[in-house]
């Protein structure tokens, strides 16, 4: 039996009819066509599907769409300004070459913003530990770490 759910996605109210087994990532990608959130592993390991739910980074490939009933969801499509100006964390990833193929990037940026918000100050060691749930096969993390430190700095200032 399909179920009806409603939530806020990138500031806009959304209602949808889904199968009970529909994952939140499928709702975002297939029904809402927000394809910036990626599926890399289906097992909550790689973090390519990281979004913000009620202000915290979560992996949406491992939760049901129904679990997001009433929640406030922000995806990678929702963090740049309306005029297209990048969020400081996105800008930092570009400045520091913190992305290559771009597939893990949306999840990385969403995690990075949460990391920046969750710490009053950051070190390389803390960033590396906090990025434990986001895998990148291209960059070797070196420039991602630099980007997160720089982006967090800009977000604070």
């Amino acid at each position: 039996m399909p179920i009806n759910i409603s939530m806020t996605v990138n500031g806009k109210p959304v209602t949808a009819e889904v199968e009970p087994r529909t994952l939140l990532v499928s709702l975002l990608r297939d029904q809402l066509r927000l394809t910036g959130t990626h599926i890399g592993c289906d097992t909550a390991q790689c973090g390519a599907c990281t979004i913000h739910m009620n202000g915290k980074a979560v992996k949406c490939c491992n939760m049901l769409a129904a679990q997001a009933q009433g929640a406030e969801i922000v995806t990678i499509e929702g963090i740049a300004r309306a005029d297209g100006t990048l969020h400081p964390m996105q800008e930092a990833f570009r400045d520091h070459h913190g992305l290559q193929c771009g597939f893990c990037t949306p999840g990385m940026v969403m995690s990075a913003i949460d990391i920046a918000k969750s710490h009053s100050s950051l070190t390389e060691e803390v960033v590396r530990a906090e990025l434990d749930g986001n895998m990148c096969r291209c960059t070797g993390y070196h420039n991602i770490v630099k980007a997160v430190l720089a982006g967090a700095q800009t977000m604070r200032s």
Binding site: E77, G102, F103
Partner: protein
């Protein structure tokens, strides 16, 4: 105005905005009208005879549009997947090439082998329906290990190779090597396993086939590193489709590392099936399917010996390797442990005699093919582990033994077929030693010891052959196709430029690097250049991206096309300025008559080329659109020196990379930011091989034991350090950009540096990769007991 200093500048990437805003278009992001979904039923057994398949229930399941098995493929006369490289056995016979059906015919040969496909309105309906397919398997004994595959009573995987041997191949002068060993002062012998790896690009493979009945055409969207090769193989060998009716598009691709070079069964099946059901058919791998069915890498068992004189000069190298092909020959499988491996065994050294014998075997495992480095990491591991071990045994400083043996004169003909064009190995090593502060190492080791930690130092001086390949050489070595590259420069009337390249970017940043080359050569702003790739409908031809070949081969094809544009532009400019063509020079985007103030800008020439009311029509065609093919005259030879320091906790066996220094010579560098990024990524894949990654199959059942990211340990951010990167430049002598390629270096050079450091820290001779905490802990215990 154009920036004339684009070459060597860390230009920020053009492609980043779309990736950072979630606006990239990967294959799974493509949604076609009326698209259906495919699910592949895969073999749960490593080796079994299929006595029957009953798909009746699945065909009647809700939403199902079609169910096909091997029988349907045979009835449709669909051929198997071809192998692109013919290796000739030591006895002159061609390698054993068993059929590689897209859906299993009579037998399955590895866990994950394709048995049937179900196509339905939704992915879940297809997956649910697949559960009701009844397959009657007669389970057969399986063999997954390379050594076991050659044992007398090993189960035969293919009828045409009863001993599971694909080929025995050799390179080098065996008698010269044997003679050198007979008179050697010292011989160092090592036996090792080059651990099998699973590539794990973060984007899983995906494909959408779309047949259009109106014009009998096909479009395949696919996560591929080389769409033209996919099309060629599919049309010419597998499906027999007319090539002009097939368009292959590889849109944004989320990493490849080799695993997306190949023509896979899924690509063929969705293309064919879209005609059968007259709907687009989409398939996206789940990660577990990536583990099971992406081509894997490495998997060598090697015995290697180095002969030295009393001064530590290398006299000869003898190598025997058994390499797994997996259950079938993937697209380039056969050339990896041969042409891309044995030819690199000279390393950076003037070893006078080398002999290598390679036995390629079939096993009940996923096919093995090129994975970042492809043969060269395996060769570097052999050479650099032997060299470091020999130095320790002979009590010569490991850096010094390398200095005594470095090649210093170029061009240098190795005893294993390659001709190195240029390099400066001494300089590169000294740079690395300085950058790594090796002079300060004893103090760091002593300080670590105070904290109860074992600190170790390891080197690796790698070489690789990139820019594959001079086609005549590749052909003589068994390549069934030339490996040149195509480029096209289309100047629009307003002077803006679209460049079409057969190279493919899946993270390498070609849109930026290639634009830098084009903008600087034409003297136009980088914003005025667009790079188009990954679409057989737009790009003339291409052999794709692998083997760090894009800039050296694809970039050179573009440069050749640019040269033609400038040549034609001079003719047009000469006409406009009423000057002799020989008097026209082109610089910084301006055509000038030498020694005068007469000039016309690039955009005026391009406009004239397209809308000619004043044009030498009797002598020159209008338009400014040039194509070029480039066939390299030699391989390129990037080389570098890596220094790794580790700290081992003897109580837990945990190894921490305390520092890692990489100094590379990639020839000229167009964009240092991008090049360093490539090195970082390669290093972490190399460190992953050395410390964490290993593909394991159960030796009895043949089940993949490392089938998820929970079991197969990809390096995470806190497993690796930040890197110290240095650059040396000896420009490549045989391409106009002087570039060599940088994509694989890190993965090639890192593993022996890490293992050399760990064995140094522990004071042991050998430790197997990956040097997990358990293995290191056991080695610490054994070293203490000894």
């Amino acid at each position: 105005m154009a920036d004339m200093n684009l070459i060597g500048a860390s230009v920020k990437r053009k492609e980043d905005y779309r990736f950072l805003t979630g606006a990239g278009t990967y294959t799974d992001d493509v949604r076609l009208d009326r698209q259906s979904y495919a699910y592949f039923l895969r073999s749960p057994h490593a080796h079994a005879r299929i006595r029957g398949i009953n798909t009746d229930k699945a065909k009647k399941a809700p939403g199902v549009l079609g169910v096909f098995s091997g029988q349907d493929m045979a009835a449709a006369k669909i051929n198997g997947l071809p192998c692109g490289w013919l290796i000739t056995d030591v006895d002159g016979q061609p390698m054993k090439e068993p059929p590689h059906p897209v859906l299993a015919q009579g037998k399955v040969r590895y866990v994950g082998d394709h048995v049937a496909v179900v196509i339905a309105e939704s992915y879940w309906q297809a997956k649910d329906a697949a559960e009701s397919i009844e397959v009657d398997y007669q389970i057969l004994p399986a063999v997954v290990d390379v050594a076991a595959a050659r044992e007398t009573h090993a189960p035969a995987i293919h009828d045409i190779a009863p001993d599971n041997t694909c080929y025995v191949w050799a390179l080098g002068d065996k008698s010269a090597v044997d003679k050198a060993f007979a008179s050697a002062h010292h011989v160092t012998r090592l036996e090792f396993i080059n651990n099998r790896l699973i590539p794990n690009a973060i984007e899983p493979r995906a494909a959408i086939g779309n047949y259009n009945r109106a014009d009998e055409s096909y479009t395949l969207y696919v996560a591929s590193q080389n769409p033209h090769v996919e099309r060629l193989l599919m049309c010419a060998f597998v499906l027999g489709l007319p090539e002009h009716k097939v368009r292959v598009i590889a849109p944004d691709v989320g990493g490849g590392f080799g695993s997306k070079i190949y023509l896979y069964a899924e690509d063929v099946v969705v293309t064919w099936a879209s005609k059968q059901i007259n709907r687009p058919v989409k398939w996206t791998a789940e990660r577990s399917e990536s583990f099971l069915s992406d081509a894997h890498g490495r998997d060598h068992h090697t015995i290697a010996e180095l002969a030295l004189d009393k001064d530590g000069k290398f006299l000869a190298l003898r190598v025997h390797t058994t390499a797994s092909m997996g259950a079938y020959l993937s697209t380039f499988a056969s050339c990896i442990p041969t042409i891309l491996y044995a030819t690199l065994l000279s390393g950076q050294y003037a070893t006078p005699a080398i002999y290598c014998e390679v036995t390629a075997v079939f096993t009940n495992t996923a096919p093995v093919d090129a994975y970042r480095g492809a043969g060269r990491p395996e060769a570097t591991y052999v050479v650099e582990r032997l060299v470091e071990t020999a130095a320790r045994e002979m009590k010569i400083d490991p850096a010094e033994i390398r200095r005594r043996n470095f090649i210093t004169r170029f061009p240098y003909q190795t005893p294993v077929a390659l001709m190195y064009d240029t390099g400066d190995y001494h300089n590169t090593l000294e740079h690395a030693l300085k950058l790594a502060d090796v002079a300060g190492y004893p103090a760091r080791k002593a300080e670590a010891a105070k904290r109860g930690k074992l600190r170790g130092l390891g080197y690796s001086c790698y070489i690789e052959a990139c820019g594959i390949a001079p086609s005549n050489v590749a052909g003589s070595l068994g390549a069934r196709a030339g490996l040149f590259e195509a480029g096209e420069v289309r100047v629009h009337p307003t002077g803006k430029v679209s460049v079409f390249t057969g190279s493919h970017s899946h993270g390498q940043g070609h849109e930026t690097t290639f634009s830098q080359v084009v903008a600087s050569r034409l003297g136009i702003p980088i914003e005025d250049v667009e790079i188009v790739h990954g679409d057989t409908g737009r790009v003339l031809f291409g052999m794709g991206t692998y083997g760090s070949r894009s800039l050296a081969v694809g970039g050179t094809a573009i440069v050749k096309a640019l040269d033609k544009v400038v040549e034609k532009g001079k003719k047009i400019a000469a006409h406009l300025m009423e000057a002799a063509e020989t008097d026209v020079e082109f610089k910084d985007g301006i055509f000038k008559v030498s020694g005068t103030d007469k000039q016309v800008p690039f955009a005026q020439v391009s406009l004239t080329a397209y809308v000619p009311h004043n044009y030498p029509l009797d002598r020159l065609e209008p338009g400014l659109n040039e194509q070029a093919f480039y066939d390299p005259t030699n391989f390129t030879f990037p080389a570098g020196s890596y220094v790794c320091e580790v700290e081992v906790d003897p109580d837990t066996g945990v190894t921490r990379i305390a520092s890692f220094t990489a100094v590379d010579d990639f020839g000229n560098v167009i964009n240092p930011m991008i090049v360093e990024g490539q090195v970082h990524g390669g290093l972490v894949q190399g460190i992953g091989q050395a410390l964490t990654e290993s593909c394991r199959y159960d030796k009895d059942s043949g089940q993949l034991l490392t089938g998820s990211m929970l079991d197969y340990c990809l390096p995470r951010a806190d497993d690796v350090p930040s890197f110290k990167i240095g650059t040396e430049v000896t420009p490549c002598t045989h391409n106009p950009l002087g570039v060599k390629g940088c994509g694989e270096a890190g993965a090639i050079g890192a593993p022996p540096a890490v293992i050399n450091a760990i064995t140094d820290a522990l004071g042991v001779r050998e430790i197997e990769m990956p040097a997990t905490a358990e293995r290191v802990w056991r080695a610490v215990r054994q070293a203490k007991a000894a």
